[in-house]
């Protein structure tokens, strides 16, 4: 998950602050604490020494007091005279004066004579004879003792009268009050407890001066023996103390230990305000950090957020540069960069959009652009009629080959400009390598408009010494007649254009559905064709062929006719070409051969000397099995090969000339004559002609149709006839539609004529009727049965 800049900054600052402050606080605290501990230890040690000295001084004073008492004359007298009652009362009296809890009178033999506290002690031996000796020697002796769990100073003073005649023993209680007093005198800042070993190593306290009772557990944890003369840091529950223990000096006989303690918490108390102040500072720092973080982050993130929204806006396609704002330098730079980027992207997108919708060479809109325009106009539906004129420039490949691509491009630009100028309200676009499309909405006189466009374009293009004759053609698709949308309209206009480019005479061709080899409905035509082949839907019509010299019927050309059960008559051009393209020509050829040979067999059976011509397509010549199949059919029907003539176009040989020629040779070897169809148009190559085993050429009907009226056509026909004859070919002319042409051909020496003047292609009974009419006789062989 992404952390926002503000939070990141805040976390960083706060962490830094906390770490630095915390570390500082920890270090200061640690140093202070260590110093304090060391200082406390020193203080404790010296205080304890002072405590002991005070203790000694106090006990000394007490001893002196007792000593002074011992010198009382009356007491001495009473003692000397063994006046027990007097001694007892005097001892009690003096005991009160010195604060003793108990006074004893001990004789020189160390026997207790009087005990103010305990009568039972009378007659007992004093327990510390050494102390008695010391008392005699020093005038007084003192010691610490534990009696019944209480600590006492015992002060022993001899009574001199004037020589020692006994001892006074004073027991001064070393109780809490005394310890308290001593502690105050020694200004011991600590708690004091006096302990003594009890049973089984368990130490017990005998007196204490404690302000804080909790420390007792620290001073003497569970009665364990104290560690002597070494300050110790003890940790208890929620408290720490420095503890020091030392044996009281002058308590050799009785082990009495003073344990002093100092609460570290107490010692640290003066520093609490400092800690509080430091915490306050930290808190203040944190607040300041948060505030400054917020401010800084806002000053950074706000422009960034606004820039982000600008970026989103740019992503959405709005390239307006962001408004210049007074921000930090970096943000301003970023904002400026973003603005520049937006402008650059906008320009680039404009360029790309232009490129995407325009042709790079002519600068005209492209097909995509025009499609949109057409679709817009079509859906708008304002004008029901419109036309798409597709203008194409032929021979562009030649121009490229000879003058180069650049020249081609300049030429096209020139054409485009001309079209643009001539189109007026029409939309001009370059839609293909060779073509432009002009969308003319709401136009009626389409053909005129198309011609006007062609005239505008069809001018010579000059560039230096080079002049190119632009001879454009145009295809027209009408909307909504030929299509409701741009795709179909463009496709059909293009088809029409290609038709037009193939045309010689008329350069403007409207779309003709029948001539469109690419119509999708023609695909279903093929399956219908196959069905017709199987079910006899096809008929073989025959068009008579006249031997001009003999003036009789020499044969006929077999032509396939198909009457579609739904569509009616289907022109051969449309389904034969389709069959060639879709690979269905072989069964069709087969059918024609079979039907043709059957017809030839029928003629032969009836004794009629007629020869049947059958057209072979380019695909047939690629089929090496064709001669075998032909031979098979001939044999089947017992037909002489000479009764058959195969017509081929020169272009049929072009694909794979060697294989095609091989097939033709085999057919020729079988005895079947071959004829070149459509001679004079297309790629007429004498080089090929020479290699072909051809016996006849057939002049294209375009030369024959206007033969009577056109001297040029006459000259051409005459020349072809002469040429054919000179090369040893027979010559046939087709498309003979009038008597003048017929007579001209006869006069020119042409061998055969075929055409409407004689008869159109006739069904079987029609052909028979034609023969029967006797207009032209048929040579009947005598051997007819």
């Amino acid at each position: 998950m992404a952390i926002s800049f503000r939070n990141r900054l805040a976390i960083f600052l706060i962490l830094t602050l906390v770490v630095v402050q915390g570390a500082t606080a920890l270090i200061v605290y640690g140093v202070t604490r260590r110093a304090l501990i060391s200082q406390s230890e020193t203080q404790l040690t010296s205080s304890l020494g002072l405590f002991f000295r005070q203790m000694d001084a106090v006990s000394q004073r007490v001893a002196e007091s007792v000593q002074v008492l011992s010198l009382d004359y009356a007491l001495r007298q009473a003692v000397a005279q063994q006046n027990e009652q007097t001694i007892l009362s005097a001892l009690r009296n003096h005991g009160r004066r010195v604060g003793a809890a108990r006074m004893q009178w001990i004789n020189m033999d160390g026997m207790i004579q009087i005990d103010t506290a305990d009568d039972q002690q009378k007659g007992q031996q004093f327990k510390a004879p050494g102390l008695l000796d010391q008392a005699v020697a020093d005038g007084r002796a003192r010691d610490v003792t534990i009696v019944d769990g209480r600590a006492y100073w015992i002060v022993l003073v001899p009574i001199r009268a004037p020589i020692p005649i006994g001892y006074i023993g004073a027991h001064i209680p070393l109780d809490d009050g005394m310890v308290d007093q001593l502690r105050r005198l020694s200004s011991l800042p600590a708690e004091v407890v006096l302990v003594t070993p009890g049973n089984a190593g368990h130490w017990k306290q005998v007196a204490k001066s404690v302000e804080n009772p909790e420390i007792l557990d620290q001073l003497l944890p569970n009665g364990a023996p104290p560690v002597f003369d070494k300050p110790l840091l003890t940790r208890g529950k929620a408290r720490e103390d420095i503890v020091l223990a030392a044996r009281m000096p002058g308590s050799d006989a009785t082990e009495l230990v003073a344990v002093v303690g100092l609460s570290l918490d107490e010692a640290l108390r003066p520093y609490n305000p400092v800690i509080l102040a430091a915490s306050g500072l930290l808190l203040l720092g944190l607040l300041a950090a948060l505030l400054s973080t917020s401010l800084i982050a806002r000053s950074v993130s706000r422009p960034i957020e606004s820039l982000a929204s600008v970026a989103r806006r740019i992503a959405g396609g709005d390239y307006t540069p962001p408004e210049a704002t007074v921000e930090t330098k970096e943000i301003a730079q970023l904002s400026g960069a973003l603005g520049n980027m937006a402008v650059a992207i906008g320009e680039r997108e404009e360029r790309i959009r232009h490129q995407a919708r325009h042709d790079g060479i002519t600068g005209l809109p492209n097909r995509l652009s025009l499609s949109d325009q057409i679709d817009r106009d079509m859906t708008a539906g304002a004008d029901p009629t419109a036309a798409l004129v597709m203008v194409g420039v032929p021979r562009l490949q030649e121009i490229v080959s000879t003058l180069g691509h650049d020249f081609r491009d300049r030429l096209m630009r020139f054409v485009g400009q001309r079209l643009q100028a001539a189109a007026g309200a029409g939309h001009v676009a370059r839609v293909s390598e060779i073509g432009f499309a002009v969308w003319l909405p709401g136009i009626t006189e389409v053909t005129q408009a198309a011609h006007r466009l062609l005239d505008a374009v069809g001018q010579d293009y000059r560039e230096g010494s080079i002049t190119v004759d632009v001879t454009p053609a145009a295809g027209i698709a009408m909307a909504p007649l030929h299509g409701q949308d741009s795709g179909l309209l463009l496709q059909r206009a293009d088809t029409a254009l290609h038709d037009a480019l193939d045309q010689v005479d008329d350069r403007v061709v409207p779309y003709d559905a029948d001539r469109d080899p690419h119509r999708s409905d023609r695909l279903s035509l093929m399956s219908d064709l196959r069905e017709a082949l199987d079910n006899g839907g096809l008929k073989l019509f025959c068009q008579p062929k006249i031997d001009l010299a003999a003036n009789r019927i020499s044969g006929a050309e077999g032509l396939v006719r198909w009457t579609h059960p739904v569509r009616g008559f289907v022109p051969p051009d449309s389904f034969i070409g389709l069959a060639e393209e879709t690979g269905n020509i072989r069964p069709l050829t087969n059918w024609v051969l079979e039907a043709g040979i059957a017809r030839a067999a029928d003629w032969a059976r009836r004794g009629m000397d007629l020869r049947l011509s059958v057209n072979l397509s380019v695909r047939d010549l690629a089929d090496q099995t064709l001669p075998d199949r032909v031979a098979e059919h001939l044999q089947d029907k017992a037909v002489q090969p000479s009764s058959m003539l195969f017509e081929i176009t020169e272009s049929a040989i072009m694909g794979e000339p060697d294989k095609a020629i091989a097939v033709l040779r085999r057919l020729n070897d079988m005895g079947i004559d071959l004829s070149i169809d459509d001679f004079g148009v297309g790629q007429s190559s004498f080089a090929y002609l020479r290699r072909l085993p051809v016996r006849e050429i057939k002049i294209d009907k375009s030369f024959v149709l206007k033969l009577a009226a056109s001297p040029e056509d006459g000259t051409i026909v005459r020349s072809i006839v002469d040429l054919g004859h000179n090369l040893g070919y027979r010559v046939t002319a087709e498309g003979v539609e009038d008597e003048g042409s017929f007579n001209f051909l006869r006069e020119a020496g042409c061998d055969y004529a075929q055409g409407y003047y004689i008869a159109k292609a006739l069904p079987t009974d029609g052909f028979d009727s034609f023969i029967a009419s006797g207009r032209w006789p048929v040579h009947v062989e005598a051997s007819v049965r």
Partner: protein, 213 residues
């Protein structure tokens, strides 16, 4: 027992020639070998030393000068009289709680006490109630031969008849209650000498130089 001892003593005295006598010197030291002054020796004849020559009663003056009893130790034969005389400019309160002689006199300067007759042998400790450090010992004895050591620790007894004796020694600083040191001594025709070391306690220090005991 008392009777048989007396008979034995009489026997001894009878067979001893009275003419033989000599002086006898004791050299007294403390435990550290230093000369010990104010030590008292008394001789007791082992047998019958013969009847003691009755001496006329004598007065012993114990002076008080510079807050000191002079002498500190006085050997007093039984029956003698002791008089305390104040030669200081302060008063002295001389007292004794001893059963041998219980008295107290407050003496003005240049005043002296009543004569105090001492009838029983023993040591009477005398003090001053005003000046605790002042001490005086009256060594009351019934022995014919008793003397105290001088500053050099020497005690010389003159005209001691030859024979066996028990010498008893006393000193203020002997441990109170401890048995009194004693030693057998034989006195011949020639002067005798004996060094004696007494186990005295160290001098008290608490009262300073003014009172050594």
């Amino acid at each position: 027992m008392r009777l048989s001892g007396l008979l034995l003593l009489l026997g001894l005295l009878a067979c001893r020639p009275a003419a033989m006598a000599a002086s006898f010197t004791f050299q007294i030291t403390d435990g550290g070998g230093r000369a010990l002054a104010d030590a008292v020796v008394t001789l007791t004849a082992d047998g019958d030393a013969g009847p003691a020559k009755p001496l006329p009663p004598r007065e012993h003056f114990i002076d008080q000068q510079d807050e000191t009893f002079i002498p500190a130790v006085e050997v007093v034969p039984v029956g003698d009289v002791v008089i305390f005389r104040n030669s200081d400019r302060t008063r002295h309160h001389v007292y004794s709680f001893s059963p041998l002689a219980t008295f107290d006199y407050v003496l003005k300067p240049n005043e002296q006490s009543q004569p105090i007759k001492l009838q029983k042998p023993g040591v009477v400790a005398v003090g001053c109630n005003i000046h605790d450090f002042m001490l005086n010992y009256l060594f009351v004895t019934d022995s014919r031969w008793a003397a105290k050591s001088d500053d050099k620790g020497a005690i010389t007894l003159a005209e001691v008849p030859a024979g066996s004796y028990v010498a008893h020694f006393w000193h203020p600083r002997l441990r109170p209650g401890a048995p009194q040191p004693a030693q057998k001594v034989t006195v011949g025709a020639e002067p005798g000498k004996l060094g004696v070391s007494l186990p005295v306690l160290p001098e008290r220090k608490d009262d300073g130089e003014r009172s050594r005991y």
